[in-house]
């Protein structure tokens, strides 16, 4: 692959990096708080839009004929090319996913950032670079690249979590996140080193070949190595038992960052997990399916049970997002060979993630709007929202329905696909636990709905909503409904994205 080709294929990443540095530079050059406060979010927004254009431009160049297109430069001293990243359906899906996350977060952050921190330009730059790391992680096919991208994501997340320096809760959140994160990364790296030691390569596809070709004693190593890798990735996804950091980090972090953390790192974690398990360890499926199923069950159950007792909406959504990750993991545990069937588990996972993106970011946009006015995010702050801001209340209702999984919302379609995959694979227990948990979750989501529609507001003044927040909430609500009502293109996108991964079975 020539350098020109490589640079063309990396265009989305390059555009996003340049955009982040332009934001950083303009923040230094532009004088006057007024100008910077008003225009920097839009510069960031424009940068992400250009990234979207670049992503669409490279879309047709992705791997053809069922083989992912590997990005390589030159040759290693063994004479073989060493692929670092791939441009395939999965990578493109997550590029699109990241762009959508960044568009929504930069739009909804405006007023919050303006009033909460003096470091505004850096905020948007770090946010874009965190997005870059998700793109890199989801495209990485080499352990070196995977570790680097995950660490990149971690470091940007730590800084963004501790962004409110005068708020002790923000600092505490960042410290907890950092210490857990450092431990989880170290364990994951040890797992990677075992895989490298047994195979002598860091390329995922080559690891798969070496593991099946080599001596059968490697089976002793695959299981511990998988668990160790799962510790690092499960930390990013916030799977139980690697979840302890998430409620504190979600509560203490600036709300736009919480919105990002609840979606971005989860997506990156799932993307890497899918690639690692399906590209490097497909021959050892019996070893890891049981682990994933067990983790899915405890993640769903614990997330939902603890969420029942929360009074702070950010904390509640943190536990709810733990539970949601548990549902998604069912899709990976119940994966099936690519066939005529409508769900392979994997496409259910991606569809669920896609619906969850709009649902959760929409819900957080409303939390931001309420918090901008009331200064806190207790459930009681939502009392009487239907009279104070009818538009927000109705949109929140739609998002909560989607989180529960009631039609006609995207969340319902996602659940249908992952539970369907579990039933198809005769993993009835997984599906039953998932459905019971969905029923339990109605209770705490309904607590918010009850406050919004029937609660007595202490303060009857209407809540002003900035136009950009209104746009975000409106578009997200429409998308949540559209995914269910006009499902066909979304299902096709999810199915095509996993085709190359699933075809190997």
């Amino acid at each position: 692959m020539t350098l020109n080709q490589l640079l063309t294929l990396l265009l989305p990443e390059i555009v996003l990096t340049v955009a982040a540095f332009v934001v950083l530079g303009l923040d230094l050059i532009w004088r006057g708080d007024e100008v910077r406060g008003r225009w920097l979010p839009w510069v960031a927004f424009l940068g992400v839009l250009l990234t979207l254009v670049a992503t669409i431009a490279v879309w047709p160049m992705a791997g053809v004929g069922g083989r992912p297109l590997a990005l390589t430069v030159g040759q290693g001293f063994g004479g073989d090319a060493i692929p670092m990243m791939a441009l395939d359906g999965l990578a493109l899906f997550f590029k699109l996913f990241t762009v959508l996350v960044l568009l929504i977060v930069t739009l909804s952050a405006g007023e919050y950032v303006q009033t909460h921190t003096p470091f505004r330009g850096e905020f948007y730059a770090l946010m874009l670079l965190a997005g870059l790391s998700i793109m890199l992680a989801s495209a990485a096919t080499n352990l070196v690249m995977i570790y680097l991208a995950i660490e990149f994501l971690s470091i940007t997340s730590y800084v963004l979590t501790g962004y409110l320096r005068d708020d002790p809760r923000s600092t505490e959140a960042a410290i907890k996140y950092f210490i857990y994160g450092a431990g989880a990364s170290a364990v994951m790296l040890y797992g990677f080193s075992l895989l490298y030691g047994a195979t002598g390569t860091t390329d995922l596809a080559a690891i798969a070949t070496a593991l099946t070709a080599g001596s059968t004693t490697v089976r002793w190593l695959v299981f511990p190595a998988t668990i160790m890798a799962l510790a690092g990735l499960g930390f990013k996804i916030a799977l139980v038992p690697f979840h302890q950091w998430s409620p504190d980090a979600y509560e203490g972090a600036p709300t736009p960052v919480t919105a990002f953390l609840s979606v971005g790192p989860k997506a990156a974690g799932f993307a890497v997990l899918m690639r690692l398990l399906l590209t490097a360890l497909p021959g050892f499926q019996v070893d890891w399916v049981g682990v994933l199923a067990g983790v899915a069950i405890i993640t769903m159950s614990l997330g939902n049970l603890v969420a029942l007792r929360q009074t702070n909406v950010k904390r509640l959504l943190a536990y709810s997002s733990i539970a949601q990750a548990g549902y998604m993991l069912i899709g990976l545990a119940a994966l099936a060979p690519l066939s005529e069937s409508w769900t392979t588990g994997l496409n259910g996972l991606l569809l669920y993630l896609f619906a969850y993106l709009f649902t959760n970011l929409g819900a957080f946009a409303i939390v931001i709007a309420v918090e901008n006015r009331t200064g806190s995010a207790q459930i009681s702050d939502f009392a009487g929202l239907i009279r104070r801001a009818p538009f927000l209340a109705v949109a929140m209702f739609i998002f909560l329905l989607s989180l529960i999984g009631i039609p006609p919302t995207g969340g319902f379609l996602g659940k249908l696909f992952v539970f369907g995959a579990a039933i198809q694979q005769r993993m009835i227990l997984l599906a039953v636990v998932g459905i019971i948990n969905s029923v339990v979750s109605v209770y705490y989501y309904y607590a918010i709905i009850r406050e919004m529609f029937f609660g007595q507001a202490g303060d009857a003044e209407s809540i002003p909503v900035t136009p950009s927040l209104k746009l975000v909430v409106g578009v997200n609500a429409v998308m949540v409904l559209a995914i269910a009502l006009y499902a066909e293109p979304f299902i096709r996108l999810a199915t095509e994205s996993v085709q190359m991964l699933a075809a190997k079975f």
């Binding site: 290693g76 770090l126 470091i155 730590y158 195979t199 190593l221």
Partner: protein, 171 residues
């Protein structure tokens, strides 16, 4: 596997340094002593690299871990003496759970190390040191150029982040 006696003795001394240093880090009540034990542990790892014929790696370990990181930690401790000087116990009521987890992890890893037939690197990988270094450089700017560039962006991000978290606010 070290075959002759000298190698075994050297290996034993290095292991004593590395593990003893590590034990000192987590058990010493004085933070400053802990940092000094960390230097000892790092020095043991340098010795391992030399034993493994990885001269460049040994030099890098010496320069970065002992020369930069450990010294920086010592500076940080000395500059924040007011906060850090009191002696603190390194144990709390959860020590036995930690011990249990550590022992279990050790058993699992020991079984893995024992049971797996580890592949041995080909002679090609054991090129003479000077050739190895130039190969390393070429690999870094060849096949590994994408991670190399990503690492540079990551360092910049860490720099910006550190400035944001530590800078005095003007207003």
């Amino acid at each position: 596997m070290p075959t002759n006696v000298v190698q075994i003795v050297v290996f034993a001394i290095l292991t004593l340094m590395t593990l003893g240093g590590g034990l000192g880090v987590v058990s010493s009540r004085n933070l400053f002593h802990g940092a000094l034990f960390l230097v000892l542990s790092f020095a043991g790892v340098v010795g391992y690299y030399v034993l493994l014929d990885a001269g460049f790696l040994a030099a890098v370990q010496l320069l970065i871990y002992i020369g930069a990181i450990a010294i920086l930690i010592l500076f940080a401790i000395m500059l924040s003496r007011g906060l850090m000087s009191q002696r603190q116990s390194q144990r709390n009521e959860q020590w036995w759970i930690a011990l249990l987890v550590v022992v279990l992890t050790f058993v699992v890893l020991a079984v893995v190390l024992w049971q797996v037939d580890w592949p041995v690197a080909s002679d090609q990988a054991l090129a003479s040191p000077s050739v190895a270094i130039s190969q390393l450089g070429q690999e870094l700017l060849g096949p590994y150029v994408i991670p190399f560039e990503v690492a540079s962006v990551l360092l910049l991000v860490a720099l910006v982040g550190a400035v944001i978290l530590a800078r005095e606010t003007e207003t």
